[in-house]
């Protein structure tokens, strides 16, 4: 792996989830209606990611 590939291998998902969290936290603060839904959905994704890897660990 090149250094760049190595970086994204480790940090790709954490950064994506971090951006999603920031969006989720701010959406409900700055908007109403659809923005509340956007907030609920994006923060729920965090919990779904946890559930996916916790309950269905990839065989290793």
């Amino acid at each position: 792996m090149t250094p760049r590939q190595r970086f994204w291998f480790i940090w790709g998902m954490p950064i994506a989830l971090g951006v999603l969290s920031v969006f989720g936290l701010l959406a409900a603060l700055l908007g109403t209606g659809a923005w509340h839904w956007a907030s609920w959905v994006s923060l729920s994704i965090l919990l779904l990611v946890i559930a996916r890897y916790w309950w269905f660990p990839s065989p290793r």
Binding site: I10, P14, A28, G31, S39, W40, L47, V49, I50
Partner: protein, 390 residues
């Protein structure tokens, strides 16, 4: 590039900041669970009358009439503040038998905003501290130790934030060869919980960081208000120096109207009466909230002369009070309806698992973790060319 020594340093930072704060953070996370729903819980156990069933556009009663209702119950006491709820059409009128003794002797009367009917004559705050929610709040905020407790738990929160940052730094070297989300469940319990600790920690990172940091800022609210009082108010208060707190006050509705004229498109959220501990000895401080989702969380203070009811000044909001106000919703999770509160609860539970697994990893297999770090250090030393003395 992370070098071997810095990995070790960050590991020590993570270990010690976590160890010191974990037990307090566990208490904070557990007591935080009912506090997320404090509005609903208080509603459930409410001993007072519900607000009157009136159409949504029913006009509010005059604040003078509302305050008069509370004063009628306690004719010999002072009004300390008026707080207008932003969820339901009701007003809390804070009362004190003695000025400046709100914490020890204060209590509040809840009044319907439209009918000016008394809904509930609340118990003294001092008594309320030992109700279920009062105990939850004290364990969450100040451990029954007032400002000292607030600063102590604030410091624990700061350690938690440092633990999060150092945890993120360590995530890199730990995950070098592992796919995101790897949970090695089959090999050993310790390894499984190490992987879960890393997974749950990194997924909830931003949420835990934001809630942790805004919690620290909330713990600083008393000193921040004191700072604002001592830097912003003296300029405005100079002409009133040495005068006693006025006894014949201007109408509170007039004070509210004056403030709303000074800052149009805003509504009154809180009025600190002259003599209020967080106010001015000579003014009504009228806090106005905006009408957009964001500005409804941001209050601006207007000082109204307590005797004449005329505008004294629109006080500047320093950056640290704005930071404090924005920290409240981001900490409480009360700005996106019931679904957001439920998400807050679940993320709080995940944080409890992260704290618990961290503690477990330390207690159960201290040696194994130390060996893993030593291995990481060794690997780094092999990977980077060593400069040996010639």
């Amino acid at each position: 590039m992370t070098t071997a020594t810095t990995v070790k340093t960050w590991y020590l930072v993570h270990k010690w900041t976590s160890l010191v704060c974990t037990l307090f953070l566990l208490v904070i996370c557990l007591t935080g669970l009912p506090l997320i729903f404090h509005h609903e819980i208080e509603h459930l156990f409410d001993e007072g009358k519900p607000v009157a069933e009136l159409p949504a556009d029913a006009p509010p009663a005059s604040l003078d009439r509302i305050v008069a209702q509370a004063k009628a119950l306690y004719p010999n006491e002072y009004v300390d503040y008026v707080y207008i709820d932003d969820h339901e059409p009701q007003v809390w009128v804070g009362m004190v038998p003695e000025l400046g003794k709100a914490v020890e002797k204060g209590h509040a009367v809840r009044v319907d905003l439209r009918t000016a009917e008394v809904l509930h004559d609340g118990p003294p705050y001092a008594e309320d501290r030992f109700s279920f929610m009062g105990i939850m709040l004290a364990l969450h905020v100040d451990l029954f130790a007032g400002l000292a407790g607030e600063l102590f738990l604030g410091f624990m929160g700061l350690l938690f934030v440092v633990a999060i940052v150092s945890g993120v730094v360590l995530y890199g070297p730990f995950m070098k060869k592992l796919e995101f989300g790897t949970v090695r469940a089959a090999r050993s319990t310790r390894l499984k919980w190490l992987d879960l600790h890393n997974l749950l920690g990194i997924v909830t990172l931003v949420w835990a960081f934001v809630v942790g940091l805004t919690g620290v800022i909330n713990e600083l609210s008393t000193p921040l208000f004191r700072l604002w009082q001592s830097t912003e108010l003296p300029r405005i208060l100079a002409p009133y120096q040495g005068r006693p707190v006025p006894t014949a006050l201007a109408s509170v509705q007039q004070a509210a109207d004056t403030a709303m004229k000074a800052l149009p498109d805003r509504e009154v959220s809180f009025i600190a009466y002259p003599g209020n501990a967080f106010g001015s000895p000579h003014h009504y401080i009228v806090w106005l909230r905006g009408n957009t989702p964001l500005t409804s969380k941001l209050n601006s203070p207007v000082l109204v002369d307590g005797v004449t009811g005329e505008l004294s000044a629109v006080a500047r909001m320093p950056w640290y009070l704005t930071a404090l106000e924005i920290s409240r919703p981001l900490h409480f999770g009360d700005y996106g309806g019931m679904p957001l509160k439920i998400l807050w609860t679940l993320l709080d539970l995940v944080t409890i698992v992260v704290l618990g697994s961290g503690l477990y990893l330390w207690i159960a297999r201290r040696k194994a973790t130390d060996a893993r770090v030593a291995e990481l250090v060794r690997r780094h030393q092999q990977a980077t060319p060593q400069r040996s003395p010639a």
